[in-house]
């Protein structure tokens, strides 16, 4: 458990450079919102359009974070150091997942209020939406940590990781959009569909966490 | 959409089955190219082996003489 905490702290500090990069990432999210405002030619969003803009922005941010997950390890041989240490590879995986979740939550803490101010009329439905985003982040992190490890040791890793990752994320995004759309509906949030989609999100998260935990050993052995 | 009349429908059905057969044909053609290449390389290797057998037989004969 201690190793987990150490690795989690290291990932947050070194890989993601959380404290330094978070302002930049927040700026990135806000600028993306502005681009959407002009790209869609809309000053207010609701329902599926709002869900789409928000979720795609979160996805972009996640892709950037996932890409950076292994930068320092790759370049400075950190991977080898971890392989030599008597650490269970699967806890390394969980640490990376946790780091990504923390990172994305921190980003959404800024991006979500800005999004509401920019595009939404009221703030009801924000609380369940935050819950949906948490489930989404867990899925993004579980799949992202796994795929970026696969890509980390390959040529053209910057292209390969998103290439393999995106199709895997489709069901996750479908479920997140399905949940977010009624929560952001014009006439106020509707909660009847949320349970079904939250269940799907949870199923996705569980599946990929289990798969990642089970196969991670094989990625790190040499 | 109401069902297409038989002559039009026939073209689409034929198209689907043609796609299937065509893909199969493309695969067979690719395999044929690969097998040809393998045959050529095997012929090359057979020649190489014969040459080596000949040269080692020659070396043995020379030994016997000396």
């Amino acid at each position: 458990m201690n190793a987990f905490k150490v690795m989690l702290a290291k990932d947050l500090r070194v890989e993601l450079r959380t404290l330094q990069s978070l302002p930049a990432m927040a700026l990135f999210a806000v600028t993306t919102f502005v681009i959407f405002r002009f790209g869609l030619d809309r000053t207010s969003l609701e329902g599926s359009l709002a869900a789409g803009v928000l979720l795609v922005t979160v996805l972009f941010a996640a892709l950037l974070a996932i890409n950076r997950l292994f930068v320092a390890e790759r370049d400075e041989g950190g991977f080898d150091a971890i392989r030599l240490a008597p650490v269970d590879p699967s806890s390394l995986y969980l640490a990376k997942v946790a780091a990504l979740v923390v990172y994305l939550l921190a980003l959404e803490a800024v991006a979500l209020p800005v999004f509401a101010v920019f595009f939404l009329d009221g703030a009801e439905g924000m609380a369940p939406l935050a819950g949906i985003l948490l489930l989404l982040d867990l899925g993004l992190a579980a799949t992202g940590a796994l795929v970026s490890t696969i890509g980390a040791n390959s040529r053209a890793r910057d292209l390969l990781t998103p290439l393999v990752l995106l199709p895997l994320l489709v069901p996750l995004m479908i479920a997140a959009a399905g949940a977010a759309e009624p929560l952001l509906a014009a006439g106020g949030p509707a909660y009847d569909e949320v349970g079904k989609w939250a269940g799907t999100l949870a199923l996705y998260d569980l599946t990929f966490l289990l798969v990642g935990y089970a196969v991670y050993d094989f990625l790190l052995e040499d | 959409m109401p069902a297409l009349p038989l002559d039009e429908a026939g073209k689409y059905v034929a198209g689907a089955y043609v796609v299937f057969v065509a893909l199969l044909g493309i695969y067979v053609a690719i395999m044929a190219v690969r097998i040809d290449r393998m045959r050529a390389e095997l012929a090359d290797l057979a020649e190489l082996a014969e040459r080596q057998a000949a040269s080692s037989a020659e070396a043995k004969r020379e030994e016997v003489r000396t």
Binding site: I150, W197, V215 | V13, A16, Y17, R34, M38, L48, S55
Partner: protein
């Protein structure tokens, strides 16, 4: 395991017979569909191909698990070929699906048909298998990572179908609803024979591919052996004292 399975010749012959029989049934036995008319005949080639592609991916995942468990490269090759065949069959499924959509619905692609959309997503995922393998130089690591991918992708397939189906609003009529449930007996028989034929075709092509790969491997090994032998042979000619190292 290959000792118990029938030979490539046998499976090829069986494929020809069953598939030929299936097509005969399609055009001479199965009745026309009430809604879609003659166009529905595409169902007998499209759906079995799609099912075989997905089964191929499942087989690939199983071989991948075996590969990670045993480290035996044989399973990696089988996993690779299963995915390769799955992608080829997947291409055929998407193309025939598009033709069917055009004939039944007027458009080459319909987002309202959840099975087709799910299949496209799965196809796009497995298409990344090739660049993934190509990007990893070390052979042993490449095989391991490919196996991890095959397992992850295998877990992904049911999730994907579930999510897409949930997303499809019930307002849009399903294009291929007639393909599911409630098939009259004659159509079901024809479908099952077609499915068996496509499955046999998949197995035949897979073993064909495996045989080609194995032969290719043996040729490479032969070349390496002869090249090494050739070098020794030359030196034994120059130095007549040392006996030829032909006892290899």
């Amino acid at each position: 395991m290959s000792l118990k399975m029938p030979s490539l010749r046998a499976t090829a012959a069986a494929t020809a017979v069953v598939l030929g029989g299936a097509f005969a049934l399609v055009f001479f036995y199965a009745p026309n569909d009430a809604d879609q008319g003659f166009v529905q005949k595409i169902f007998y080639v499209h759906v079995p191909i799609a099912i075989c592609a997905l089964l191929g991916f499942v087989v690939a995942a199983i071989h991948a698990i075996r590969h990670l468990r045993t480290g035996d490269a044989v399973h990696d090759v089988r996993s690779y070929v299963a995915i390769h065949m799955g992608v080829i069959f997947g291409t055929a499924a998407l193309l025939t699906g598009a033709i069917w959509a055009r004939a039944a619905w007027g458009k080459w692609w319909v987002w309202e048909e959840p099975t087709l959309v799910s299949f496209l997503i799965v196809y796009l995922l497995y298409a990344t298998y090739y660049p993934l393998r190509y990007a990893i130089a070390d052979r042993e690591r490449q095989a391991r990572y490919a196996s991890v991918f095959a397992i992850t992708a295998g877990a992904f397939v049911p999730l994907n179908f579930m999510a897409v189906r949930l997303a499809e609003s019930l307002v849009h009529p399903r294009v291929f609803a007639t393909a599911e449930g409630g098939l009259p007996g004659s159509m079901m028989l024809t479908f099952l024979v077609a499915l068996a034929g496509m499955a046999l075709l998949f197995v035949t092509l897979m073993r064909f591919e495996l045989a080609a790969k194995a032969t290719r491997g043996q040729i490479s090994r032969l070349r390496r052996a002869l090249d090494a032998g050739g070098a020794a042979g030359t030196s034994s000619r120059i130095a007549p004292v040392a006996p030829a190292e032909g006892g290899r």
